[in-house]
Structures are given as C-alpha cells and as structure tokens.
C-alpha cells in the first residue's frame, strides 16, 4: 500500500505533492464560489460583505473618482457647503472633503490590513506550534501571551506613537511603526485562539492517521491542522480590522498620527471641531466614514461567525 488518498489527490508517502498552477487556480475558484454561496446564508454577513465591496471599489478607484488634490489648499473656496463640484463641501483650507475622505481611507485601510496580517503571521505559527507540541514550551509561551494580553492596549500605542514623534518619524516610517505596534498587540489574541483550536483538532482521527503513515509533525501541524483551525481566526481578524481602524482614528484624533497635510479621518475630525459651530457638516463626513468602515467589518465578522460556527449563531 504505497499510495494513500488524501484531500490533495493521489500522492506517495513521504513525498510532498506540489500542486500545479492549474490546480491551485481551480481550488481558489471553487473556494470563492463556495464562499459567496455561504455568504447568502447570513443576512448580516451579506450586508457587511456588500458594504466592504462598495468600500473596496471606492478606495481602489479613488484616483478616478476625485478631481481635487486632497492636500492642496484653495483659498477661494473654504468652508463651502456640499455642492455639485464638492460633494461633501470643503474644509477650512478649501480642500475638497470628499477627496480627503477617500484618500485618507486608502491609507487607513491599508495600515489596518497590514497590521492585522502582521499580527496573524506572528500569532498563528506561535499558537499552532505551542498547542501542537505542548509541554513545557507551551506553558512558558502561554505565560508570555497572558502577560501581553493583560497589557492595556491603547497605552502601549500612546507610548509607541509618542516615541515615533520624538524621533521625527514621518510618512512611511510612522505608518510602519503603527503597523508594527497594532499588529504586535493583536498577536497574543491570535496565538491563544490558534492554540485553543489546535488542542481540539489534535485529538481527531486524521491527525493520528497522518502520524501513522509517518508524516513529519511540522507538516501535520502547519498543513493539516492549521487549515482546519482557520475559521475562528478569520472571524477574529475581520472584527479586529474594525477595531484597529478605530484605534488609528483615535490616535490621529489626538494629534498623534501623521502630521497635517496628509488626509486622515481622525485628524480631519479633530480639526473640524474648531469650525463645527458655523459648519457642522465638516465634522460629520469623516466620522461617518469611520462608522461605515468599522460597521462593515463588524457586520461581516458577526455574520461570518454565524456561518462558520452554527452553534454560536444565537450570539
């Protein structure tokens, strides 16, 4: 019995089967079609998903949709109410708010995604390996995670962002630090979640089967157990995206984000406070943008949880 049937098709024991591009394409296509069909099952996930699609289109097409430079002042048109030329009006320097909201959103969403991906790529291997191998290494690494989990999040960001400011890090480097800080703060949660699922998954028969046929344990942990633990991680990451966006907006609202001319929802909102008595609308649009984005991620995450774990669908 030299050949064994596993999900990936026929393959020999001990040999790693490398899928062709054709196979990979098929697999991704099937998964996507499945995913869309599944999405219909939950109203929240569907609405959230649609909101995210709209957001993605708006942000991808930003250069086409906006006619104005988001950072160039226009002193002939400041604090104008919404009109045909300026859909959301202009701010105190005459800059088009619509284009500032879109360009700011591009940056914000990219930072948030990068931070969450960073947290996942740190936390998943950490949690999976810790849970799979268990023993002393596991208890030590979980103590570390406990310590980090108890650390009040925003305080850490305040320290890191202040440091970045004192070192005069600007633009790209400032954003990179933010990605690092937000991702690192996410990592313990991911690690713990991944470990928990691995502990359950480890007991199942297919793991034993793989062990019997002599698969390397690292291979079992990462290629067989991990894919089966992904659903809670995906849900968590989605909800986290919304949370990360709220944190970044709060930091830049406090004036600890990127310095002024860069469009930024939090900073724009903070600047709008000085003029909201005469022109309340300028304080409304950046806030609505934050709400829309965070709500989209939260709805999508909530719905995904219902779909992936029907037991929890009441929550």
């Amino acid at each position: 019995m030299s050949e064994i049937h596993l999900q990936g098709g026929q393959r020999k024991v001990g040999e790693i089967h490398i899928p062709t591009w054709q196979e990979r394409y098929e697999r991704v296509k099937d998964a996507l079609i499945d995913a869309v069909q599944e999405l219909y099952k939950s109203k929240t996930a569907f609405i959230g998903g649609m909101m995210l699609v709209v957001l993605a289109i708006l942000l991808l097409l930003t250069p086409v949709l906006t006619d104005y430079d988001p950072t160039k002042p226009d002193y002939s048109a400041f604090l104008e109410p919404p009109s045909v030329e300026h859909i959301m009006g202009t701010d105190r320097y005459g800059r088009d708010i619509f284009s500032r909201v879109l360009w700011g959103g591009r940056r914000l969403v990219v930072i948030a995604i990068a931070a969450v991906v960073f947290g996942l790529s740190l936390g998943i291997p950490y949690g999976v390996l810790s849970g799979y191998y268990g023993g002393f290494a596991d208890s030590v690494s979980m103590r570390v995670v406990d310590g980090l989990l108890a650390f009040p999040g925003i305080l850490l960001y305040l320290l890191i962002v202040t440091l970045a400011r004192e070192w005069h890090l600007e633009g790209f480097w400032n954003d990179l630090i933010l990605v690092f800080a937000l991702g690192f703060a996410f990592f313990p949660e991911v690690a713990r979640l991944a470990r928990g699922s691995v502990l359950i998954e480890k007991q199942k028969e297919y793991v034993e089967a793989s062990l019997t046929i002599g698969e390397a344990s690292l291979y079992i942990a990462l290629r067989q157990i991990l894919p089966n633990c992904m659903s809670p991680l995906i849900v968590n990451a989605t909800v986290r995206l919304g949370f990360v966006i709220l944190i970044i907006a709060a930091l830049s609202f406090l004036g600890l984000g990127t310095p002024p001319p860069t469009p930024d929802w939090g900073a724009d909102l903070s600047a709008a406070r000085d003029h909201m008595e005469s022109n309340p609308l300028i304080a409304i649009f950046p806030g609505l943008a934050i709400c829309y984005t965070v709500l989209a991620f939260n709805l999508f995450g909530d719905g995904l949880r219902d779909i992936m774990d029907p037991r929890l669908s009441d929550r």
Binding site: D146, G153, E166, G242, F253, A283, C291, N298, D302, D314
Partner: protein
C-alpha cells in the same frame, strides 16, 4: 480560595514586570540624553549638577541597575518632577484620579442600567423586532468611534440646543447640580459604547443560560415565566456579563484619554494627553504606569469576584 488568590497575585508579577519594563524603556528609547529627558534642559546644564544627577539615577551603571534604581523610586511613590510645572509627578497624578474615577463609575453605571435590561429583553424575545433592533443598535454602537459620538453630542446638545456646557468640570462636592450638568455629556459618551458591548454580552449569556436544564426544570415545576427568567436565568447570566464588563475597563480607561481631552475633563487621561503634547516625559511615563497598574489590579479583583459569584468554577 486563599490559595487561588495567592496564585492569582503571583500571576500578576510577570504582567507588572512587562508593564514596568516597557514604561522604563520608553524613556531610554527617546532621542537625546536620558538626563535631559528626565530633568529638563536648563537644570542639567551645569556639569557638576549633571554629575550628581547621573549618580542619583545610576546612569553611569548598566541598564538593569538603572531599572532597579527606578523601580525602587517608583515603589516609594517618587516619579520625578514634572518638566512643566516643576511639581512632583505623583502629586499631579494623584489630583487627577478622582475626576477619572467619577467619570468612569457614572459611565459604567449608566451603561449597565441600559444594557442589562435591553440585552435580557432581546434574549427573551429572541428573533422579534425588539431583538433585531437591540442587535442592530448595539452593533452600530460598537462601530461608532466614541470621540465622534462625543463631538456629535456637543454639536447637538451644546451648540444647537444650548442645554449643556460643551466642556469643563466641577467637583460634585462643590455644587452637585452644576457638576452633574458638566458630567452628562462625557458620561453618556463613556457609557454609550460600553452599553453596546454589554447589551451584546448580556444577550448572548442569557441565551446560553436559557438553554440549560434547570430552566426547563423550573418551568415544569410551574414557576411563572417571569420568575424563571428574572429570578434564576438573569442572575446566572449576570456572572459572565459582570466579569467581562470589568475586563473591558482597560478599553474604557484607554478611551478616557480621548474623551477627557474632548471635554477638558481634568482626569488622568487628559493629564497624559497634555503631557504628550508638552513633552513632559516623567509625567507620561508615570501616567501610563499608573493607568496600567490600575487595569491590572481591577482585572485581578474581577477575577476574584468571578470566583465568589460562581463557586462552581473552583471545581474545574
């Protein structure tokens, strides 16, 4: 219980260690000489004074000795002097604690008063319009940034209607009526987000509880539905709700940095914010350390409370 308490306190040590190391490293990682950062430029100009100060802070010694010296001072309540006011940092922080506690306690109480009944009703009337409304409102609630909610409240209630002051603070011992007027908007902003979380939490733990067998037993014994729900189920459902709300305090205290700034509320949050703006490093360091320690201690208390409320946990 005693063993558990001791065990739990021992667990705090690594957490506090991580916290203090991070806060300590913050000063070390700032650009420039540590002595200038801690004392301010003018006072540290004279070479002789400089020498003396270097000795006092152990700056000529390796970094772990410096950490030890610093921890020793912190344990005695010596956080150094504020670079702006030249007063001891501990004093500055001590004065700002009551305002933060006042705001946090009122905010949390408001949120509990709204959220627990709302969550319970949503769970009891599951899949009814009431339930959907509660779910949607609470989901929107956790998606709205608190600072934006605060600004919108100011815009509407202060600038448009002119009912409430847009910012400021007055101690409740001075003039309770006035003090409450200042309190309403910040407390609502604190409570709003918290209420959204707590509603979701109450609903989900109510649903968990309602599926348990003792509920069926109580019903089959002929207790009225009201009694079953409000006397037995809700009580049990409160246990996880209270615990997790307590653990949410970390988020809440973080949020006060933003909200206190918007409402010019003289608490720890605003003190930290002003210190960051003024580059008052000793105050930033001490403020974050104090907030962090408060969070760790509250987490401990909540954990212990959980055991008291729910003795069954001890068996596992």
């Amino acid at each position: 219980m005693l063993i558990y308490t001791i065990n739990r306190i021992l667990h705090m040590i690594p957490v506090l260690f991580v916290l203090t190391v991070v806060v300590f490293m913050f000063i070390q990682l700032l650009p420039g000489d540590v002595i200038d950062t801690l004392i301010g430029d003018e006072e540290a100009e004279d070479p002789a004074t400089r020498e003396l100060l270097m000795k006092e802070y152990g700056l000529d010694k390796p970094i772990y000795v410096q950490y030890g010296v610093w921890i020793g001072k912190v344990l005695q309540g010596d956080f150094g002097k504020s670079l702006v006011t030249r007063r001891p940092v501990a004093l500055e922080l001590f004065e700002s604690i009551p305002a933060t506690v006042y705001l946090a306690v009122v905010g949390i109480s408001i949120s509990m008063l709204i959220a627990i009944p709302l969550g319970a009703i949503a769970a009891v009337k599951r899949n009814s319009p009431t339930d959907y409304t509660a779910q949607i409102v609470s989901l929107i609630g956790i998606s709205i940034p608190e600072f934006w909610f605060a600004i919108m409240c100011v815009l509407f209630f202060s600038l448009y209607l002119g009912w409430l002051p847009s910012s400021g603070y007055m101690s409740p011992f001075e003039d309770l009526g006035q003090s409450l007027k200042y309190l309403i908007l910040p407390a609502a902003a604190v409570g709003f987000r918290q209420a959204a979380y707590t509603t979701r939490l109450t609903r989900s733990s109510m649903l968990d509880e309602m599926n348990k067998e003792y509920v069926d037993t109580a019903r089959s014994l002929g207790f009225s539905e009201k009694k079953v729900i409000y006397k037995y189920t809700l009580r049990n459902a409160m246990i996880p709700t209270i615990t997790i709300s307590g653990l949410q305090l970390a988020n809440l205290l973080g949020g006060t940095v933003v909200l206190e700034t918007i409402f010019a509320w003289p608490g720890i949050g605003q003190a930290i914010y002003l210190a960051i703006i003024d580059r008052d490093y000793p105050l930033i360091q001490a403020g974050i350390l104090v907030l962090g320690v408060i969070v760790v201690i509250v987490n401990l208390l909540v954990d212990l409370l959980y055991r008291v409320l729910n003795p069954r946990v001890a068996l596992n």
